[in-house]
Amino acid sequence: MPEIVPTRSRFKNPIGKYRLGRNKDCISCGKCVEICPYGVHVLRRGKVSVKNHYLCIGDDCPEPCHIACPVKALSVKRNPTFDVLGDYRWPADLLVSTWYMAEFGSVPPRGLEYKLGASGGGFDKLRLLFRKNQTAGINDEDNDIDVGVELNRRNDNAHRVRIEVPFYGGGMSYGSVSISTMLSRMRAATALGTFCCTGEGGYPDEIKPYDDHVITQVATGLFGVREETIQRVKIVEFKYAQGAKPGLGGHLLGDKVTPGVARMREAVVGYPLFSPFPFHSVYSVEDHKKHVDWIKAMNPKALVSVKVSTPTDVDMVAIGSYYAGAHIIHLDGSYGGTGAAPEIAKKNIAMPIEYAVPRVHQFLTREGVRDKITVIASGGIRTPHDLAKVIALGADGICTGTADMVALECVRCHKCESGRGCARGIATTDPELMKLMDIEWGTQRIINMFLAWRKEIIRILKRLGMKSLKELVGRTDCLVHLDYIKDENK
């Protein structure tokens, strides 16, 4: 595994939950610098000041500086900006704690809720069930716990691909994100021994060095798909649908079709690009098999992943994909990410991943093929706890997307699609805005976050008394849903 390298925010003032005030009475005695374990205060040239408001843990602090201050010059208050940040799915706590993980490679010490969002359902109402005072295995070495996933379970001619961490990067196209963002994700995936998907926007030459860790996507617009790009990779992903806009096509606004994007997609600069829905060559499982065979004919060693959304009959779609020859069925739940989608679609169409995974897992088990296909879940998996929960519901691994963006300091302003694109330089192809982010910085931030995730997943497995993530697959007995706990247990 790569090293953690502390990687501070790109911006001068990282946002935290609290702000400290220091009034004129301060005598620069250094008491606060001495007692704060989080490095909030600094002493420079005999003068004490607050350098890192964002690291303050507020009320959770066992020895608060404002109480210890001999002249009572300090005050702590909630940062008003923090309260503007975030939403139900990604509350400010989750954003700020993900930034913490991306900076330090570990979960935040205190003061932030890093396990749960505030959506009031699904993952946010599920809890992991731990035995109290679990001792067996709790002191095992982290490296003795296996969190890897075998992706080829058909044992056919294709590559035997194993990922060392139970996640890979979901598709984000060149065009919807900048080349720096794309490269940061690819490089982090390479370092972590996993993969990252190109999305539907072509295969820029810059990512060629990472070929062995790239999944190339074939989606309905077929943008940038060539025989040569199919032959270059170990995994090819068909995108039938996307959770955020199930049943609807993709749409890259004209503003984002810059000369680079247009060249990559073989399109015209400044014109919007539509990726239709559905594949107009697929109206049955037989048609779908023809698609899979087409890839296997071009690249017989490639694993084929089928990315679908979550309709009522998602179990039928999954079994159909298995019989069509897919190695991976990738379920993208309705609360997943997007570069642009109608709000009505994000909210209303298709079901959340928390429902789709158990349905598919149980159905494939009943059909006797569950051990022949890898189930990957995505769409609203924000934290290592979400990951553990979705594995317990029946997935083998997950795809991430939004979490990667948050590691790169996405604030979820929802403006990825407008004008010049992301004002923070993540989801944009604007030459000036792109400069806001550096590839080395981005790579390390994503690595750090995922190392924190890995550590947390290992901790969870130890608490469950398990040696590998495989043991957790489908173990719904390790989960409790707060709405259904029997009254006597409440």
Binding site: R131, G320, K347, N348, R424, K486
Partner: protein
């Protein structure tokens, strides 16, 4: 194939500065006067375009800020912050939420579907219509592309009675009653809301919008006077149970009677005054409404308007939502074998385009839309008008042309959103969406199916 139904929208700018969710706090004190100030670097040029509106006490900085936080995070002296706007949070109520109001304003102004980046930010599920998801089709069922126009998806519905069969004589002449149907291009009837700072201008604007959209506007019959007389074919006069129906001419295509233990013969009286028009009977939405409907069918009625509460709740049991009762009534009428012959409409609390689709999935043919048409006119749902206080956005003074444009915009955006929902499901006809509960996922049912068994918390275990 009928010609494609297209709603022509055009920008209809706000008259007042909108209330935004958060504001910018920028202190001047302590400013270093940097050569390159973060305010100059704003991607959206918010600070350059800044202007104060003294009349409304608003600062355009708040309206234009897109929440990228770059100025907040880069000011060397940390002099810029964001804060929540209490005025935004105070808008509306638990049902007509600030977010819904703001989204309706956007649609009324632009006529566009709200589109944004990043995944859904809202709660896992919500009350009423927000507790169900609609289906989509992939791989195994054909889908439709209604938005980009490669396929035609119809939002049209019929209102009226559809007889089970037509009877012809030996000579081939129709001997049974021929069906009286109103063909509506949208499953929507505009309805004048129960409060609002309305004037004749407002009503005229709505009537113009109804005419332009090819739909109907329902309103208390007393409001049909003056310039509204010219729009009679788009109007539905509503008579309450205390009124004696009066004749407003034969251009009227539909009349509504509010049912409340009405004197016997009222429906016949109305029918005598409006022999060619459809008569809609408005009933409170309760689980037992099917019984009243069966009785009224015997009296020759065929169009029923089930009225739910202001917050989309059942009128029988306020703990239940419209969706629950609509499903029950629809199912009961299906079981009785009568559902296909009549028209069911509903109203109350329908606030967003998806609510229209979901009400139809639950079993109605179409819906009445009231408050969204008022919010389109910048209403903040402050309800000051109910107390006789002046309207903060002077709705009564808005010109009919602007009222019509804003209303057309809302329904233009809703129409496109209906196409999105139906297209994703692979359904080509709004009529076929009716009662398609099997193509929807109801939270209560799915959640229990999936999580109901995850209920064991035994001694010696803890939760994380």
């Amino acid at each position: 194939m009928p010609s494609k139904y297209v709603i022509h929208t055009r920008q209809a700018p706000d008259r007042f500065k909108t209330i935004t969710k958060s504001g910018v706090i920028a202190w001047e004190e302590g400013c270093l006067k940097c050569a390159v100030c973060v305010k100059k670097l704003c991607v959206y040029e918010v600070y350059d375009k800044r202007g104060l509106d003294p009349a409304q006490m608003t600062d355009s900085i708040d309206n234009q800020c897109m929440n990228c936080y770059r100025c907040v995070q880069n000011c060397p002296k940390e002099l810029i912050h964001k804060s929540l706007n209490p005025e935004f949070k105070a808008m509306g109520d638990s049902h007509w939420t600030p977010d819904i109001i703001a989204r309706l304003w956007y649609q009324a102004q632009t006529g566009s579907i709200p589109v944004s980046g990043a995944g859904y930010p809202g709660p896992f599920t919500g009350p009423g219509f927000d507790s169900l998801w609609t289906d989509m089709s992939e791989i195994v069922r054909p889908t439709r592309d209604g938005i980009h126009g490669r396929e035609y998806i119809s939002t049209a519905i019929d209102i009226g009675r559809t007889p089970k069969q037509l009877v012809f004589s030996e000579k081939g002449e129709l001997t049974s009653d021929s069906p009286v149907l109103l063909d509506m291009p949208l499953p929507i009837i505009l309805s004048v809301p129960s409060f609002g700072s309305l004037s004749e201008k407002t009503l005229k604007g709505w009537a113009m919008a109804a005419k332009r959209l090819g739909i109907l506007l329902a309103l208390p019959y007393g409001m049909i006077k003056g310039e509204l007389e010219g729009y009679k074919s788009s109007l539905v006069p509503v008579f309450s149970h205390e009124d004696r129906p009066v004749c407003l001419g034969d251009e009227i295509r539909m009349v509504e009677v509010i049912w409340d233990k009405n004197p016997k013969g009222l429906i016949e009286e109305t029918r005598a005054l409006y022999p060619a028009a459809l008569i809609s009977v408005r009933l409170p939405l309760t689980r037992q409404a099917d019984k009243e409907i069966m009785m009224l069918i015997d009296e020759g009625c065929s169009v029923f308007h089930l009225e739910a509460g202001f917050h989309g709740r059942s009128k029988g049991n306020p703990l239940l939502f419209a969706k629950d009762d609509i499903r029950a009534v629809h199912q009961s009428l299906v079981n009785k074998g009568i559902r296909d012959e009549i028209t069911l409409l509903s109203s109350g609390g329908i606030a967003m385009a998806e609510h229209v689709a979901k009400a139809i999935i639950c079993g109605v043919d179409g819906v009445f839309i009231d408050f969204p048409a008022l919010i389109a006119l910048e209403c903040r749902m402050c309800r000051r008008c109910e107390k006789g206080l002046p309207c903060p956005v002077k709705i009564e003074a808005a010109s009919p042309g602007w009222v019509a444009a804003r209303t057309v915009n809302i329904f233009g955006a809703w129409h496109n959103q209906l196409l999105e929902i139906m297209g994703a499901m692979g359904i080509r006809e709004c009529r076929r969406l009716r009662g398609e509960a099997g193509r929807a996922m109801f939270f209560e049912e799915v959640d229990r199916e999936i999580f109901g068994s995850m209920d064991k918390l035994e001694e010696g275990f803890e939760l994380e």
